[in-house]
């Protein structure tokens, strides 16, 4: 019995064991065959994330500052510049997108560790200006536009405190007094380039500097003052692609009864399909509303929508700022779409109390249909120009890509409306319409609706129809033969000139010259050059004209002032002083410097490239000799101005224009200096380094030694022109003959 009992216990035990094994065996087998993922790094995920975020923060703070540029040969290069301190950046890949091969390719063959200020040349195709992508070893991606550009680098002796972060900047004076400085504080040094272009930490401020606080108060800096920036940044004000002339005024000021247009004797418009229109503007006063007579029965609205294409058989009405012949940037003091497709429909009344403007971009298709897109957010009137309420200074860009059928509108570099129509959709590209700024139609009458726009010839005495005319001031106008990318448009807003070889027209609006126009051939010659008295204006052979040169190509698509009651030259009519000398302006509040002995200096540096080897004579212009249009006010004098010019480090010219008197202090041609002629000469066989130091102040007194008599500030103007070998007169230097330095 005992034996049996023992056997039974063993058997029961074995049975239980067997069942447990049966239960566990699958799990044990499963565990043995389940692959655990490889832990291949010693870092935990939280450490990885912290490292990634730190790297992004460092790069955003400029350690390193990464920028991609294109030199004048179209070669892209990437610059790494450390602002605060060196933290190595381990780059795994640098990519670009090859549009033809439809493939992302390496822009640099292999990985690279950046451990100091470095420049890498990229393997991109010549003149590539798409996106560059950097992927780091931490898996962070940085996307960079190619900052291809032309022109000079022009920097002022004005420094701006930006990006105030945890530590507020403090100015410590030698007597121990400390002044807290806010973001937006300006520092004007007595000499140019006395401070780094970008600074952080502690900076010695030169004696004699003026600090303009954000409340408008000034602090004169004595010797020994230190600015403790902490981690805030001090940045110099620069125009990265400056060209000449540098001026505080625009010759493109238009009223609603004038224009600048091409003339019948020359090519009238660039006849483009794919294109980009770029226009700086200040809209002011009453402008006719943007009115679209829709050919779609379902469309009727007075509320514009983003990303909606409005189709019509008639051109939209409104203030045409820039018209390329088949595309236009329009601003209007209102917006409406009617849906009856009837030309007899009475337009919306012009609202005299309109307090805001709508911006639109329109194209005319090959079949005559108009397609218009609109920014749904109106621009408010925030200022006053020429006695009329006005918008802020704004950059409008319209793009049309005929290949993709994409139409897009940008304001101040930001996309506000975009529609993909259909691929390979052509525009009408008629050769007959005049390219214009300011107006596109000079026919009379009201309720005029046009199926096509004739444009409006320049150099005629005729007013623009107010249903198709702009009112306000215009800055530079660019027309490209490509559709710029959003990155390029942002670059444009920041002062670059992207893809310069695709610019077809650049009317800078401060390049206007009084000329005699041969009305048989269309050829012109400067009025100052012609020693003979001008022919009778009634003669068919010649007329007095004002030519707005196309700085992209002086021989083609130049514009001419109209001669109606407009204000083509507006000498500093603005609330701000706006210095033009490139695609984007530098702005000042005039009250900060007007009547004060504060010198502002612009130093422009870059390459001057000859058209052909030979001896060039240069003219230095301190004033603009363009005649004043009929109802314009005279400029309120010119600023006090000084200029020194160096070529390859050697001074070639020095002069000043003080109290409306020119004084040539030095010219490398004694003949010019002796006769007080603002000219010099140079044998240009290849590109040379050009440095122009231009200083002005607005401490101008009139003949009674009292401040200026009216509210306008004195005009600021500097221009450098050249007379190439074989030429008879001075010419503007085309933008492509001014290039940034090649590294």
């Amino acid at each position: 019995m005992e034996v049996k009992k023992g056997q039974a216990i063993i058997i029961i035990f074995m049975i239980i064991l067997l069942m447990i094994v049966s239960l566990l065996l699958p799990l044990i087998l499963l565990q043995s065959v389940t692959k655990s993922f490889q832990i291949e790094s010693g870092s935990s995920s939280s450490v990885v994330l912290a490292e990634k975020e730190l790297q992004i923060e460092e790069v955003n703070n400029g350690d390193p500052l990464i920028k991609v540029y294109q030199n004048s040969q179209g070669i892209d290069y990437i610059k790494f510049e450390y602002i605060h301190g060196i933290t190595p950046l381990d780059i795994e890949y640098i990519f670009y997108y090859d549009y033809d091969k439809a493939e992302w390719l390496l822009a640099y063959p292999g990985s690279y560790i950046v451990s100091g200020n470095t420049t890498l040349y990229l393997y991109t195709p010549p003149y590539y200006n798409g996106i560059i992508e950097i992927i780091t070893s931490l898996g962070n991606a940085f996307y960079l536009p190619v900052q291809s550009s032309i022109g000079l680098t022009t920097c002022a002796n004005i420094y701006n405190i930006t990006q105030v972060q945890t530590i507020t900047p403090i100015l410590i004076l030698p007597n121990g007094t400390s002044i807290t400085l806010q973001e937006g504080t300006l520092i004007i040094t007595p000499e140019p380039n006395s401070l780094p272009k970008i600074a952080t930490g502690n900076v010695n401020i030169p004696a004699g500097s003026t600090i303009i606080l954000t409340n408008g108060n000034e602090v004169s800096v004595p010797k020994g003052a230190i600015l403790e920036l902490g981690n805030s940044i001090l940045i110099q004000k620069c125009i990265e692609s400056g060209y000449f002339p540098i001026s505080s005024f625009l010759t493109g000021y238009q009223s609603d009864n004038d224009n600048i247009g091409t003339i019948p004797l020359e090519e009238r418009n660039p006849q483009l399909q794919t294109q980009t229109l770029v226009q700086w503007f200040i809209a002011s006063g009453n402008i006719y509303p943007i009115k679209i007579i829709s050919n779609s029965p379902s469309t009727k609205t007075s509320t514009p929508q983003a990303n909606v294409a409005y189709y019509s058989d008639y051109a939209p009405t409104g203030g045409y700022m820039l018209w390329s012949g088949d595309a236009g940037l329009i601003i209007g003091g209102g917006f409406c779409v009617n849906n009856n497709n009837k030309p007899s429909q009475s337009p919306s009344p012009l609202n005299p109390s309109s307090s805001q403007y709508y911006l639109a971009f329109t194209v005319q298709l090959y079949n005559g249909t108009w397609v218009t897109i609109v920014d749904p957010n109106p621009l408010p009137q925030i200022g006053n120009e020429n006695g009329q309420p006005s918008s802020a200074l704004t950059l409008a860009v319209g793009t049309y890509d005929a290949q993709t059928g994409t139409i897009a509108l940008y304001i101040n570099g930001t996309l506000v409306s975009e529609v993909k129509l259909k691929p390979n959709l052509m525009l009408n590209a008629s050769a007959t319409s005049f390219m214009d700024v300011g107006s596109v139609y000079n026919g009379s009458g009201n309720n005029i609706l046009l199926k096509s726009l004739p444009g409006f010839s320049g150099d005629i005495f005729d007013a623009g129809n107010n249903e198709y005319s702009f009112n306000g001031a215009l800055g530079p106008s660019f027309i490209y033969n490509i559709s710029l990318t959003s990155a390029q448009i942002k670059a444009l807003y920041q002062g670059q000139i992207p893809s310069p070889n695709n610019i077809v027209v650049l009317w800078s609006q401060n390049t206007a010259e009084e000329v005699y126009l041969n009305t048989k051939t269309g050829s012109t010659e400067p009025a100052y050059y012609t020693t003979m008295p001008p022919p009778n204006p009634s003669s068919v052979l010649s007329s007095e004209a004002v030519e707005v040169y196309n700085l992209a190509d002086l021989s083609n698509l130049n514009g001419f002032w109209g001669w109606a009651g407009a204000i083509p030259t507006a000498f500093a009519p603005f609330s701000d002083i706006i210095i033009w000398g490139g695609p984007s302006p530098v702005l000042f509040n005039p009250t900060l410097i007007q009547g004060k002995n504060i010198n502002i200096t612009f130093e422009s540096q870059g390459l001057l490239i000859p058209k052909e080897p030979g001896n060039y004579i240069f003219s230095v212009n301190f004033t603009d000799n363009v005649p004043i249009a009929e109802n314009n006010q005279a400029p309120n004098g010119y600023a006090n101005e000084w200029v020194v010019i160096y070529i390859n480090g050697q001074k070639v010219f020095e002069g000043k224009y003080i109290d409306n008197r020119l004084n040539v202090l030095y010219s490398n041609v004694y003949y010019f200096q002796q006769r007080n002629m603002p000219e010099f000469s140079y044998d240009l066989t290849k590109a040379v380094n050009l440095t122009v130091i231009f200083t002005f102040n607005l401490d101008v007194k009139n003949e009674n030694n009292s401040p200026p008599h009216n509210q306008g500030v004195p005009a600021i103007y500097f221009n450098l022109m050249w007379m190439p070998p074989g030429s008879q007169w001075f010419q503007y230097i085309p933008i492509t003959n001014l290039q940034p330095f090649i590294l």
Partner: protein, 191 residues
């Protein structure tokens, strides 16, 4: 003797019964517990992976053939095997619910980048797989019967397709573990 034989037979029967019961328990365990255990284990792995997987997507580039192309990169420091990419478009109005919006149609192809400065004549298309069910890292089913493309971790790839102007490209990163597919990361980009 008869008595002894009776004992042997009964014990034998008991042993047989025990083995049968063991097999039954084995079978039940294998059939019921293993999938639960496997799924939980896989889900935990996917969850751990998802903590350290990052996907970047470039801005769109439009080729001359009008296709939209994005450069993608999966940064995965803890796991260097293959992932599966599911790329699809949704209307931009669906962006607020992008985390749970399933793929509707397959419009995009995924290619390996040639990693050269001059390019190749033909881009290498990655192998596609059909995924019966995609789970999120919490084990919820996100989508069924989707097509994905295998791409290695830490290697750039290109997504090409036709993206309408009002649509958004969505990219899921799928991790395969013990027979299950988990979405461990996702991102989206406007065209």
């Amino acid at each position: 003797m008869i008595h002894m034989a009776d004992i042997g037979v009964s014990e034998f029967i008991l042993v047989i019964a025990a083995i049968i019961m063991g097999l039954v328990i084995f079978g039940l365990t294998a059939a019921y517990l293993i999938p639960i255990y496997t799924f939980t284990n896989a889900e935990q792995q996917a969850n751990a992976i998802s903590q350290s997987v990052y996907i970047t997507l470039s801005p769109p580039a439009i080729s001359s053939s009008l296709n939209v192309s994005f450069l993608g990169y999966i940064y995965s420091p803890l796991y260097s095997g293959n992932y599966t990419i599911v790329a699809f478009s949704i209307p931009s109005s669906a962006v607020p619910s992008v985390a749970i919006t399933p793929p509707v149609s397959e419009q995009f192809s995924v290619y390996l980048v040639s990693l050269s400065t001059t390019g190749t004549t033909n881009l290498v298309k990655t192998s596609s797989i059909s995924i019966p069910i995609v789970y999120d890292v919490n084990g919820h089913s996100l989508a069924t019967n989707v097509i994905g493309y295998k791409v290695p971790a830490n290697v750039p790839f290109e997504i090409v397709g036709n993206l309408n102007s009002n649509n958004v490209l969505v990219v899921w990163v799928i991790y395969y573990s013990s027979g299950y597919h988990f979405r461990v990361a996702y991102t989206y980009s406007y065209g």
